[in-house]
């Protein structure tokens, strides 16, 4: 199998599994207080260790980190935990932001910022949208479908000048782009483990010291200690050389896919994550492309309405100004450190075959 759906989730690193196993079967205790038996206190060490590892990566203090069950919980916690007031976000966020905001519309006003054709947030619209009662700006670091990286430092500066809290969902970008919460003026930061070869169901929320946030879950919580231990390990074994490798592979993919006529490359060419590529093939449909490739053992995803929830096309491509004609034949390739050059070659070959086959079947030729 060739797995190219790494923006959805990733294969867990074997070393991470070993670390997790240790805390499943050997050191499985949970500390309920600072005076718990030494066996149970091992769990405390896990929490502190992982916090330390993460804090070094995003330049915060370990005590400013809260463990969650992942991206959706971290994002929900922010949106539902901040004080009452106006919220600004964008039209291209993850569903855990957009669906939560939709629900919050009953009790507060929400602005959804536009993006341009490459997926960049309209900063002048952001400035104009800031109101007296604006409490929070929530903008993702990099997009889950097209990989476009926002200018977080610039946005952070605007937020700080207007004394508005700034939340960044960095689930896709963590370890692939550097993050400095101080330099970027980030008050709240979402990251997750399963996109960096860590376990599913583990994430973190950074809450800058002094920020008032009402916690959604109260009382002593049994944390996912093995998962948190694995999270720390996944970060430790991450090698920045893999980012370079993925960048080259993505360039090769673009180079080859562009040879196919009537093809659109979505997103920014200059400022995009090295592991995400979204392309559209005119006159054919994405679900059919994905299903054909699936029979060839290649796993990836589509932004086509035919495969979407409630037959809706990708909200990201829609916000970027692409009609259904373009999003209909769109597919998404997500690379990882395990993706090999040979796999890229096979994918290119099969993709060309499938596009040709489907276009031959299609009555629309131009």
């Amino acid at each position: 199998m060739i797995y190219l759906d790494n923006t959805t989730t990733t294969q867990v690193d074997e070393r991470v599994v070993q670390t997790m196993n240790k805390y499943q079967t050997n050191e499985y205790g949970i500390a309920v207080s600072d005076y718990s038996p030494s066996f149970s206190m091992k769990s405390q060490e896990v929490l502190e260790n992982t916090k330390k590892i993460i804090s070094k990566k995003v330049k915060c203090k370990p005590e400013e980190l809260i463990f969650t069950s992942g991206q959706s919980e971290s994002n929900n916690q922010v949106l539902k935990g901040v004080e009452k007031g106006h919220i600004i976000t964008t039209k291209i966020e993850h569903s855990s932001i957009l669906e939560t905001c939709k629900n919050l519309e009953k009790e507060r006003s929400i602005t959804y910022l536009n993006v341009d054709k490459e997926g960049f947030v309209d900063l002048s619209q952001l400035k104009k949208s800031l109101q007296e009662d604006t409490i929070l700006v929530s903008i993702q670091h990099a997009n889950q479908e097209v990989g476009t990286i926002q200018d977080i430092e610039k946005i952070g500066k605007i937020c700080r000048e207007h004394k508005v809290l700034f939340h960044v969902d960095a689930s896709q970008s963590f370890l692939k782009q550097s993050i400095d919460v101080k330099k970027m003026n980030i008050d709240l930061l979402t990251i997750t483990a399963h996109l960096i070869h860590g376990p599913k169901g583990v994430g973190v929320l950074y809450v800058r010291k002094g920020v008032q946030l009402k916690l959604l879950i109260q009382g002593s919580r049994v944390l996912n200690i093995p998962g948190i231990a694995g999270y720390g390990k996944a970060i430790q074994v991450w090698d920045n050389k893999d980012n370079e490798k993925m960048k080259k592979q993505k360039e090769r993919l673009i180079q080859e896919i562009e040879k196919i006529p009537n093809t659109v490359i979505f997103g920014s060419r200059s400022n995009s994550l090295s592991n995400i590529l979204s392309v559209g093939f005119k006159f054919i449909e994405g679900e059919a492309i994905v299903l054909y490739l699936d029979t060839e053992g290649i796993v990836l995803s589509t932004g086509s309405a035919c495969a979407g929830k409630g037959l809706k096309p990708s909200h990201v491509l829609e916000a970027m100004g692409y009609g259904e004609e373009e999003s209909h034949g769109s597919i998404r390739l997500g690379l990882s450190k395990y993706t090999t050059d040979k796999e890229i070659d096979i994918t290119v070959k099969k993709l060309k075959e499938v596009v040709e086959k489907l276009r031959k079947m299609s009555p629309i030729k131009e």
Binding site: A288, L291, C306
Partner: protein, 129 residues
Amino acid sequence: MSVYTEKVLEHFKNPRNQGKLKDYDAVGEKGNPICGDVMYIYIKVKDDKIVDIGWETMGCAAAIATTSMLSEMAKGKTLDEAMKLTKQDVADGLDGLPPVKMHCSNLAADALHEAIQKYREKHKKTKSK
């Protein structure tokens, strides 16, 4: 597990009667490229029977499989019999379709019916000459 039946996947992978007929009597065209699915069904008629059928489809796996299935069902049938083919017949022939994909089988049946109607109109005109 796929949301599609084995039969849908089988027709999707090995579509029957696919392609535009070189020498056809009528074509039915349904759908539009903006909403996604587009189906063209070509028929060749002899002695009031569909002796050959071909098709072109732009769409998802369900759209491709339903056109393929429909072409198999319609081939060899009289025009009256073919007019009676419904979207449910096509879906049943494929051992079912996910509910949200039923409109695909609708399009295929509609395109066939349109081709037959066009043929009959053309035929009427030539007869009356």
